[in-house]
Symmetry: C2
């Protein structure tokens, strides 16, 4: 009785697979499902890059997040995927689903959050749609123009490439756990955890600088969790990834120690953390490092000795689980 299976068992990937199989392909399509953005050929020979990501209150809104922060995060999630591809947004649209219980001030705060976020990434929001909904819904669609050959995809990693990341990991997960599991009021959280959870930023400038350096062979953002992103890069290029070490924020390490958690778990299996995960040929890493003005950390390398993602832990090599921030599986 396949038809009666609840979507809870399907998972987000299962649903996307159903969509992908049903939609088929088209000869104008340059990038379809399976990467962070989609793209079609333009008559001019360049490509139109398209992205949509929907923020839903019941699943994406941590306790204590304001309407303004929610709206900003909805923009960030979209911009982050463009950042990972090295593409700057040209314009955006926003479709809103608003519960009746919202006030005029809530709507103004949503508008302010959308506006400030879009301005900070230097693109205009030029249209949209408004609806009533039982669940706060902020669906953003971004449009950009790029050259096909400069678009960095999830696939493209080569054996011996360096695996590198921007920023540090674990703060978002620590922030979320401190609210959800330990009931710590948002005002009592360390500022870096608060900012990571309630006011994340996309690494657009870094993504554009790294793309301009033309040494990145594959890239993804870490929004579904670092472990998940590494698995995606590994699968897309049909190669293995061996991780040495991960930059974990001091706040996440402190939080882990305090609550007897593994800081590596916070860093690997979190999510909603908008850093970039990239592969770079070893001889070109220094060029990428300069392009990123030093905000780039080597965490491992690409190998053909195995598939999947593994990590050196106390001298042993252990598998990194393919788990992350996926909806519909709880």
């Amino acid at each position: 009785m396949i038809g009666l299976t609840s979507i809870t068992g399907l998972g987000e990937l299962g649903i996307i697979q159903i969509m992908e199989r049903s939609f088929g392909v088209n000869d104008r399509t340059v990038v379809g499902f399976g990467d962070d953005v989609s793209a079609v050929r333009l008559p001019s020979g360049r490509i139109a890059v398209l992205k949509t990501d929907m923020f839903v209150g019941s699943t994406d809104l941590p306790p204590g997040m304001t309407m303004r922060q929610a709206a900003s995060k909805a923009v960030v999630a979209n911009v982050s995927d463009l950042a990972a591809k090295g593409v700057s947004p040209t314009a955006g649209l926003v479709a809103l689903g608003l519960p009746r219980s919202l006030t005029r001030r809530d709507v103004q705060e949503i508008a302010n959050g959308l506006s400030a976020a879009a301005k900070s990434y230097d693109f205009p929001l030029i249209g949209g749609d408004t609806n009533e909904s039982n669940d706060l819904t902020i669906s953003i669609a971004l449009f950009a123009v790029a050259d096909k050959k400069s678009l960095i995809l999830r696939k493209g990693a080569k054996v011996d490439d360096v695996v590198a990341v921007t920023g540090e990991f674990g703060s978002t997960s620590a922030g979320l756990k401190s609210v959800l599991n330990f009931g710590i009021p948002r005002r009592q959280m360390p500022k870096s955890l608060y900012d990571a959870l309630y006011h994340p930023r996309a690494q657009l400038e870094l993504g554009l600088r790294l793309a301009a350096s033309r040494v990145v062979t594959s890239s993804i953002d870490s929004s579904d969790g670092l472990a998940w992103s590494l698995h995606q890069l590994s699968e897309s290029s049909k190669l293995g990834i061996l991780i040495d070490d991960i930059p974990i924020s001091k706040a996440a390490r402190d939080f882990a120690k305090q609550h007897r958690l593994q800081s590596k778990d916070l860093a690997l299996y979190g999510g909603e953390e908008y850093e970039l995960v990239l592969t770079i040929p070893p001889e070109k890493f220094s060029r990428a490092y300069r392009a990123a003005k030093g905000n780039l950390t080597r965490i491992g390398l690409v190998t053909n000795k195995f598939r999947g993602v593994r990590m050196k832990v106390n001298g042993a090599i252990v598998p990194v689980k393919k788990k992350g921030w996926e909806h519909f599986r709880s």
Copy 2:
């Protein structure tokens, strides 16, 4: 205490105005808020046309509509706006918010509905996003390329222009009333009412043919109701519209007679009916009529003798109310 006003009193337009004021403008923007689509300049000199429209289960799903029909309608609502501008979609994205109660078969039916609708308008769905939500949400974003001068806007009507429509009106409203107010099972509805309500189609081919005739001065679709659309055309061009008569479907007239309703009210104040409402210089109407292969009815004219929309009824001229299908006001 403006901040505590519920959005129920704001209305959809009030919310869009808050967004528009907050977002500001940008010199790349060719068409912003206030028309059926948005557009930005491309480096090539042409324009990128962008559209998003969100389908929400709790407000847009008539009783008895299947998941496949809902998905198709979500596509139709977006395509219809492009049709009114004379633009053919190049590609689309879909962001889904799915309640946990849906089954795998429901998801497959949504995929089938999206896929079939997109194929029927000859564009690919090339990406998207999937989320859990408390309210079924299908947010479509369309992308197209056009020449700026060939884009037909809401404004542009001239004094003495003919006001014309494609198709006939009233069936959707009659269908909805027959389900909502009279509890008539969907299988007992006349086929034309059933199709109008559950399987609407966008007039893309007609819109493209009319645009290619290059005689249309302004245009909008009738998705928010014919009266509403006429008021939008009137306001956008700061002129009045005088209506003689409206083509009302036989099924809507029969339904009105049977239930002692005014068929004109069904035709004027319905909504979710995806016909085109256009203005055309009188000397060029015959050319438009040929382009539309006869599916074009003259319903009135543009005048500078008054503002707003009026209608000849039994020799008198009466105002057409500015009311239609607007969310958040019930």
